[in-house]
């Protein structure tokens, strides 16, 4: 019962938040809603006994990613309402609606009726974090290391990209704008 209440509450909240992200005209609202949505999602993680993920979700998303986005927003000066020239709205919504219907229709099919033998079953009395840690450093060591490389790449990339000095003459920018 508690699970149901929690699930529906969080679901409504997350959908609402993400709805704001998608539909809001104000970038600040949008971002804030995103941050909120992330936090509520972590609620699901706790609900699903994935405490480690819940923590990571809050720390990484709200702590790091949203901070970076915030920095970006300040840089781009997009705190005000933004105008978006959205064309072919009908197509967009038809597509979105269809994709939603199809995805949901498909995902509604009962899959777990056939029990699947867990490859890496959670061991009783062992905390989630411990288990995850164990897996990460045995089975998923290589992905973990690669993820490290990926983050390194992202870091280098971010730095290098921001460092890039402008070379081309302003005329080229004119061309760029003229291309609209």
């Amino acid at each position: 019962m508690f699970e149901a209440i929690a699930f529906y509450t969080f679901s409504i909240l997350v959908i609402g938040m993400f709805g704001i992200v998608v539909f809001s005209k104000n970038a600040l609202y949008s971002m804030s809603a995103l941050a909120g949505g992330m936090i509520f999602i972590s609620g699901f993680f706790f609900l699903l006994d994935a405490e480690f993920l819940g923590v990571v979700q809050i720390v990484v998303y709200t702590g790091a990613i949203m901070a970076v986005y915030g920095f970006g927003m300040m840089f781009f000066d997009t705190t005000r309402d933004i105008k978006e020239n959205i064309k072919f709205k009908k197509i967009i919504y038809t597509l979105a609606l269809l994709s939603a219907i199809f995805t949901i229709f498909i995902l509604m099919a009962p899959v777990y009726s056939v029990r699947v033998e867990a490859l890496y079953p959670a061991i009783k009395d062992v905390g989630n974090i411990q288990m995850v840690g164990l897996l990460l450093f045995t089975k998923y060591l290589v992905p973990f290391e690669l993820a490290a490389i990926m983050l390194l790449v992202a870091m280098i990339a971010g730095i290098v990209l921001v460092k890039v000095k402008m070379e081309e003459t302003p005329t080229n920018i004119e061309v760029a704008k003229g291309g609209k």
């Binding site: 993400f18 990571v56 990613i65 995805t103 990460l136 870091m155 609209k180």
Partner: protein, 100 residues
């Protein structure tokens, strides 16, 4: 009783929301927000499946997805900064030099 299907449907709804965002956003920054929604939607699904199967791989996958999301943000914002410095806008319609 909340079943796995509930979670999967929620995941699907959120994924679709993300797609709506990707489709309608013209502001690149906000478009990136939508891609985050996509990944988060999948994360819920993974964790739920993980729970119901009693298998931890799903959680691990979610974990790595979070890492990937973080990396993407770094690179994506880097590119946006570059473009903003160059053109003074992050509007997607400014990227129209090449076509045809």
């Amino acid at each position: 009783m909340i079943t796995l299907t509930h979670y999967l449907v929620l995941s699907g709804i959120l994924f679709s929301l993300g797609i709506v965002g990707v489709l309608r956003r013209k502001n690149l920054l906000m478009l990136f927000f939508s891609t985050e929604i996509l990944l988060n939607a999948v994360n819920i699904g993974f964790t739920a499946v993980s729970k119901y199967y009693g298998d931890l791989s799903g959680q691990i996958f979610s974990f790595f997805i979070i890492a990937i999301a973080a990396s993407e943000v770094a690179v994506g914002l880097g590119l946006l900064v570059l473009w903003y410095k160059r053109s003074g806008t992050v509007d997607l319609d400014s990227l129209q030099m090449m076509k045809g």
